[in-house]
């Protein structure tokens, strides 16, 4: 376990090597989208899978992150890393607010209030002329892409760094005492409180972390698509994907969303450029239903079951 830091470093280096060796930019565009899903799924899972509070308003956090980026870029032309940190900060504060909400609201009520929050944000941004409101905003691709051969490679590496940070943080939460506390809250909040688990503090940490990473995932988005409007930024697809990926991978572990994002994200990118058309939507729907009915604990659960059966068989010899 102590040697874990080698994994993120290896992934980072692998990413750098990819940008040097691969000429075909398509991989980076697809990779960006997959990483975005990975970050959103990991962030969602911190509050959802670990702590047991379902967030319907993921698109709200994502879009606020994107629009913070647009607003600050328009006002001060700040470099991308600052924009990312700023978005993380803003959405972290919103996440903190959501955390306080958990004091009053549990279960589905909390979920609905996150949905309401997202809709309120959407209405405000629709009416905020400075960032284009409902007319949308254009962000021109900067000419400078540092030492990368194209801007999308830079964006890809930026997302990779955020993804590594998110997954490492999720892992840190999971293996630490905080993680045990979150699990206790998820299983039975009242009992946890009675046992002395500082439920409020843990929930606030969890919710704020979720907000921070979702905001950071949204910050580079305007630079990726060049044109952002509220309808596409607050898209239902983002919200559903951020729930589907952890569910498919496995919500109880930190690497569940990673697996789910890779599988669902890769599938979606592949079908976009091969089968195409309505089948893409159908796949999300059917895969969700399929996994939920047949593999409720996600892929991780399937693997665990498989291992358990094998061990039992071995023990029976």
């Amino acid at each position: 376990m102590r040697k874990f830091w080698m994994v993120p470093v290896a992934v980072f280096v692998a990413g750098l090597l990819l940008t040097e060796s691969l000429d075909n930019e398509f991989y980076f565009f697809a990779g960006y989208v997959i990483l975005q899903g990975l970050i959103m799924g990991t962030a969602w899972n911190i509050l959802g899978g670990f702590t047991g509070y379902v967030n319907f308003g993921s698109a709200g956090f994502f879009a606020v992150g994107a629009y913070t980026s647009i607003a600050l870029n328009k006002a001060y032309a700040l470099p991308l890393p600052i924009l990312i940190l700023a978005s993380g900060l803003v959405c972290g504060i919103i996440g903190l607010g959501a955390g306080y909400l958990t004091l009053r609201l549990k279960g589905i009520y909390f979920a609905i209030s996150t949905l309401a929050m997202a809709i309120v944000f959407e209405t405000f941004i629709n009416n905020w002329e400075y960032v284009g409101g409902a007319s949308g905003a254009y962000i021109l691709t900067p000419a400078d892409s540092l030492f990368f051969s194209s801007y999308v490679e830079l964006l890809f590496m930026v997302m990779l760094i955020i993804a590594i940070a998110a997954v490492c943080f999720a892992r840190y939460l999971a293996v630490s005492r905080i993680g045990q506390g979150l699990t206790a809250i998820r299983d039975d909040e009242l009992a946890a409180e009675c046992m002395g688990v500082p439920t409020l503090r843990l929930k606030l940490i969890s919710a704020t972390a979720m907000g921070v990473f979702m905001g950071m995932a949204g910050a580079p988005y305007p630079f990726f698509v060049t044109f952002v409007d509220p309808l596409s930024a607050f898209s239902l697809f983002i919200a559903v994907n951020s729930i589907a990926m952890p569910l498919i991978g496995g919500t109880k572990v930190w690497y569940g969303p990673v697996i789910g994002a890779l599988i669902l994200g890769l599938t979606q990118e592949i079908t976009t450029v091969t089968i195409s058309s309505e089948l893409n939507l159908l796949i999300v729907g059917v895969v969700l239903i399929g996994f939920i009915t047949l593999a409720p604990a996600g892929i991780v659960g399937l693997v665990q079951d498989f291992n358990r059966k094998r061990l039992r068989a071995k023990a029976g010899d």
Partner: protein, 290 residues
């Protein structure tokens, strides 16, 4: 602020509120009495709209009649849906998150099937009363909205009385409160829940017919209603059909008021802001059980 404008705004709000009640009714039942988070409910409503469209197109039946004629089929669909949900989830104690994801998946699947079968062009229906307006004094009652209001509120009241006066209705109310007691009273809880979801989906059929009377429909229109419908059910209170009706009318009036006097753009913020405040101060809604 002209009095005439004010009264018309309120009436407009009530009319659309009656329709909202029709859409939210099914969710009120599933959410309030079955504790199932059927986020796909608006998609079932759209499905109902398409069925109404087909019947209206091919047989020339009035949309409302079409909705009522098809409701029993949706009822059976709802029963089957509960059966599946029960076997896959409730038996294993896997509700909440997984049930939620299941209905998300269902929502996408139904929407895509509608796209595959009917395409994405807008569908509309024809009926003699669409386009007509009654004028009572200075108050306007466009029939395109009045008919859905009447049907919607009648259906809501019908369900309300069904739940309080009939044995099955009271069994539905009881099944979420105390399952064991219900069994001791001689009712099979599984069957009762089946009927409940059946009724909920049947109301979606009728709500769908009303929706396509009010405006054009295409498969993704359902998504616009998800937030509103949940807001109404939570605002009204879990387990209270009367609460749902009241909340629906209230939200309709608020939207209409804001749209008339301040600008329609802010109407969603006001409705959902109200929901927020309610959740913060009184999470069980206006009429819910504490």
């Amino acid at each position: 602020m002209s009095g005439e404008l004010l009264i018309n705004a309120v009436v407009s709000g009530l009319l659309i509120g009656g329709f909202y009640a029709a859409v939210a009714l099914g969710l009120s039942i599933t959410f309030g009495y079955l504790e199932i988070v059927n986020i796909a409910h608006p998609t079932f409503v759209i499905f109902g709209s398409y069925v109404t469209y087909i019947i209206n197109l091919n047989f020339g039946l009035d949309p409302v009649i079409s909705g009522l004629v098809f409701a029993p089929v949706f009822f059976i669909l709802g029963m089957a849906l509960y059966r599946f949900y029960y076997t896959s989830f409730e038996k294993a104690g896997q509700e909440s998150l997984n049930g939620l994801a299941f209905f998300f998946g269902l929502m996408f699947t139904i929407e895509v099937l509608l796209i595959l079968v009917y395409g994405v062009d807008y569908r509309l229906v024809n009926a003699p009363y669409i386009g007509e307006t009654w004028h009572i004094g200075f108050v306007d009652f466009p029939l395109r909205l009045t008919v859905p209001f009447v049907i919607g509120t009648t259906m809501a009241l019908g369900v309300y009385f069904f739940l309080s006066k009939t044995f099955l209705g009271r069994a539905i109310k009881a099944v979420s409160q105390d399952r064991l007691a219900l069994q001791l009273m001689g009712a099979d809880p599984i069957k009762v829940k089946q009927y409940a979801l059946g009724i909920a989906i049947a109301t979606a059929a009728v709500a769908g017919s009303l929706l396509i009377i009010i405006g054009p429909v295409e498969p993704s229109v359902g998504r616009l209603y998800i937030g509103r419908v949940f807001a109404i059910v939570v605002l009204g209170g879990m387990g209270s059909v009367g609460g749902t009706l009241t909340a629906a009318l209230l939200i309709g009036v608020i939207e209409s008021f804001v749209a008339t006097f301040y600008g329609p753009s802010w109407a969603p913020a006001v409705s959902f802001g109200l929901l927020f405040v309610t959740l913060a101060l009184r999470p069980q809604g206006m009429f819910g059980r504490a």
